[in-house]
Amino acid sequence: MTSFSELKKSLIVSLWFSFLTFPIMVIKADPIEKTVIWRWENLFFVAIGSFTLSMLGKIFFAQHERRRARRAADQAPARDPLIQVILREPRYLYPLAGAILIFALAFPFLFSTYQTNVMTTALMYVVLGLGLNIVVGVAGLLDLGYVAFYAVGAYSYALLNLHFDLGFWTVLPIGAILAAFFGILLGFPVLRLRGDYLAIVTLGFGEIIRLIMENWNEFSQGPSGISNIDRPGLFGLELSLDMAITYLYYLLIVMVLITIFVVNRLQDSRLGRAWIALREDEIACQAMGIDKTKTKLTAFALGATWAGMVGVFFAAKTTFINPASFTFLESAIILSIVVLGGMGSILGVVVGALVLILLPEYLRALSDYRMLAFGAILVTMMVFRPQGIISSVRRTYRYRKRGERERPAEEGDTQ
C-alpha cells in the first residue's frame, strides 16, 4: 500500500513544512529583554505531524480511488448514506425527532445551570446558522457581514431598553424588522454584484457597522458597551437567575423549532425554488423569468431577520453588549457552521452548530485552538467534502418499472 516513492514524497512534505514553519514556530525573540528562546521541540512536532498527515492523506485518496473503481466495475448505484435514509423515511424520522425533542425539553432538569447556559448559546448559533443558510446555502450569496444584522438586533434591544425601557417581547419584532431593513439596505447596492465582490462588500458593510458602534460614543456608548439590559419577563413574574436561564433556554428551543419549520417550508416554496435557481445559475434563472431583484432582496432580508431576532436574544441573555462581540470572526464562525454542516441542509446546519459550539466548550484545553480549527475545517471541508457533514437532498423524480422493488426516489445532491 505504501511504496517507497510515497514515503519519499511524504518526507519531502515534512521537510518543506519544517522549513516553512521554522521562524514562526521555533524562534521567539524579545529584543527589549534581549532574549531568544529556541523551541526546537516545535520543529519536531511539525515534522512528525506533517509527515503523518501527508501519509494519511495518501491512504485516504488511495482508498477513495479503489472504492470508486470497484463501484464503476460493479455498475452498482451508489448507496445512500444512513442519515439520508432516516431523513427520507417518516417511520424512522418521527420517533427520532420525538426522542431528541424530549431530551431537549428535559435538558435543564438533567444538567446544571451552566450546561443549560452553554446549550442556550449553542441554540442561538443554530438559529444564526439556519438564517445564514438561507442566504449562503440556499440562495448561494456569500455573505461575510452577517454579524452586522446580529449586531443590529442586539443594539436595538439594548438601546430601546436603555432609553425607552421597552421590554424583550416588544423589541423582538422591532429587532427583526430593523435587521430585515438593514438586510434590504445592504441588498440594494449589491444587487449587481456576485460571488467574490459580494463577499467583500458584505464584509465591508459588517465592519462599517461595527466601527460605527465603536466610535459613535453618544449613540452606542462606544467600546465600553451597554450594560444592565433587562432579561425577558414572564407575565410580570420576578425570575431568579437560574429560572431566567431555564426560561431563555425554552424560548430558544421554541425559536429553533419555529426557525426549522419556517426555513423548511420556505425551501419548498416558490421563493425557495427561485433561490435555488439563483444559486445554480444566475443567468439561466433570469432567463426563466424570475425577478432577480426581489429574489436576492428577500434572501438578504429573511436571512437578516433571524440574525436580528437572535441578536435580541443575545442582548437579553448576556445583559451586556459591546462591539467586540460582533467582529468578522463571529461571521466566520457562523459561516463555518453552515459550511461544516452542509450548505442548504437544515439538519446539517443544526448538527454543525452543535458540533462547532459545544465541542470547544467541552474540550476546554483545546479552546485556544478553536479559531485555528475553524480555519482548518473550512479549508479541509472545501477540499475533501464540499457538501458538508450532511449534504442537502435534491428531490428528483425517478421512473420505476412495474414490479421493480421500491427504490429511493431521491438522490444525494451532487453539486
Binding site: M25, P189, G195, Y197, A287, D368, M371, G375, V379, P386
Partner: protein, 300 residues
C-alpha cells in the same frame, strides 16, 4: 500648507504600501480569477519573519545594514514559501470547483494563518525594530516628511519598475500574461500553467513581504491581526483601479491612500477604516469593473 504637505506625503506613503499588497491580489485575480483572501496574512507573516530575524540578529550583534538586508530577504523568502504552500494546499485542489468553494477555503486559510501566528508567537503588539535609520535630509521639510516616507516611496518605485520590466520582457512575464488572457490557450501552446500560477503567488507574496517590512518599520509595531485590515484595504485599492489590471492596482492604491490621509486629517481620525470601506462599497455600486478595468462580459 505644511499640514497639507504632511498629509499628502502620508497619503503617498500609505498608497505605495497598499500598492505593494494590492499587486498580489490583482495578479492572482488576473490569472486564476480568485480573490486570495489569505494574501493579507502573507503580508503579516512577512512582517513577523522580518521582526523575528531582525531581533535575533540584533541580539547577536550584527551590523545594522546586514540586518536590514537579511531580514528583508528572509521576509521575502518565507512569505513566498507561504504563498506557494497556501496555493498548493487550499486553492489547487479546487481549481474546477464552483466559485464559492475556493473563496470559503481562502477565508479558512486566512483565519488559520492568523491564529497560527497568534498561537506560535503572541497576541500582543510587538515593537518592530527601527530598521530604517533616521537621518536628516531635505532640511526645510525634514520635520514634515520623514526618512521612512522617502525610503518607502523610493523602494516602492524601484519594485514597481522591476515588476513592470519582469512582466513585459521576461519569459515568465510573457507566460503570465498569456495565462491571464486565456488559460486553455496558454496550456495548448505549451505553457506550464501550474508553474505560472505558482510563480504568480511567489511574486505577489514577496511584494507583500516587502510591504510588510516597510509598513512595520514605519508604524513601529506589529500584531497578528494587521494582515486583515491591510488586506481588505489593498483589495479595495485593487478593485478601485480595476481588479486584474496592474497599473490599475497602483493607481487605486494611491487614490485610496490619499483619500484616507486627507479624510482622517481634515474630517476625523476615528473613522479611518470606515472611509476605506465606504469607498469600496461606493466603487462597487457605481463602477464594479474599476477605473482601469475591463468590464467582464457574461457568458451563458
Amino acid at each position: 500648507m505644511e499640514y497639507f504637505i504632511e498629509l499628502l506625503f502620508s497619503g503617498l506613503t500609505r498608497g505605495s504600501i497598499y500598492a505593494l499588497i494590492a499587486l498580489g491580489y490583482t495578479m492572482v485575480y488576473g490569472i486564476i480569477g480568485l480573490i486570495n483572501f489569505a494574501h493579507g496574512e502573507i503580508y503579516m507573516i512577512g512582517a513577523f519573519t522580518a521582526y523575528i530575524v531582525a531581533s535575533v540578529l540584533t541580539i547577536y550583534g550584527f551590523p545594522v545594514l546586514s540586518i536590514v538586508i537579511i531580514a528583508g530577504l528572509a521576509a521575502a523568502v518565507w512569505s513566498s514559501a507561504y504563498g506557494y504552500t497556501v496555493e498548493k494546499v487550499a486553492y489547487k485542489p479546487l481549481r474546477h470547483a464552483p466559485r464559492l468553494s475556493p473563496l470559503i477555503s481562502a477565508i479558512g486559510m486566512s483565519i488559520f494563518l492568523q491564529n497560527y501566528v497568534l498561537l506560535a508567537q503572541t497576541s500582543d503588539f510587538l515593537a518592530f525594530p527601527q530598521l530604517i535609520p533616521d537621518f536628516e535630509f531635505m532640511e526645510p521639510v525634514a520635520h514634515i516628511v520623514g526618512t521612512t516616507d522617502m525610503i518607502i516611496l523610493v523602494t516602492t518605485a524601484v519594485v514597481m519598475l522591476g515588476l513592470t520590466l519582469l512582466i513585459k520582457f521576461s519569459r515568465t512575464g510573457k507566460a503570465m500574461r498569456a495565462t491571464s488572457q486565456d488559460r486553455t490557450m496558454a496550456m495548448l501552446v505549451g505553457i506550464n500553467v501550474d508553474r505560472v500560477i505558482s510563480m504568480t503567488f511567489i511574486i505577489g507574496s514577496s511584494l507583500a513581504a516587502i510591504g510588510g517590512v516597510l509598513i512595520a518599520s514605519h508604524i513601529g509595531q506589529i500584531n497578528f491581526y494587521i494582515g486583515f485590515i491591510a488586506g481588505i484595504k489593498a483589495f479595495t485599492a485593487a478593485v478601485l483601479g480595476g481588479i486584474g489590471s496592474i497599473p490599475g492596482a497602483v493607481l487605486g492604491s494611491f487614490i485610496l491612500g490619499l483619500t484616507e490621509s486627507f479624510a482622517t486629517g481634515y474630517i476625523s481620525s476615528d473613522y479611518e477604516d470606515v472611509f476605506a470601506f465606504s469607498l469600496l462599497v461606493l466603487i462597487l455600486i457605481f463602477k464594479p469593473s474599476g477605473l482601469l478595468g475591463k468590464s467582464e462580459t457574461q457568458k451563458v
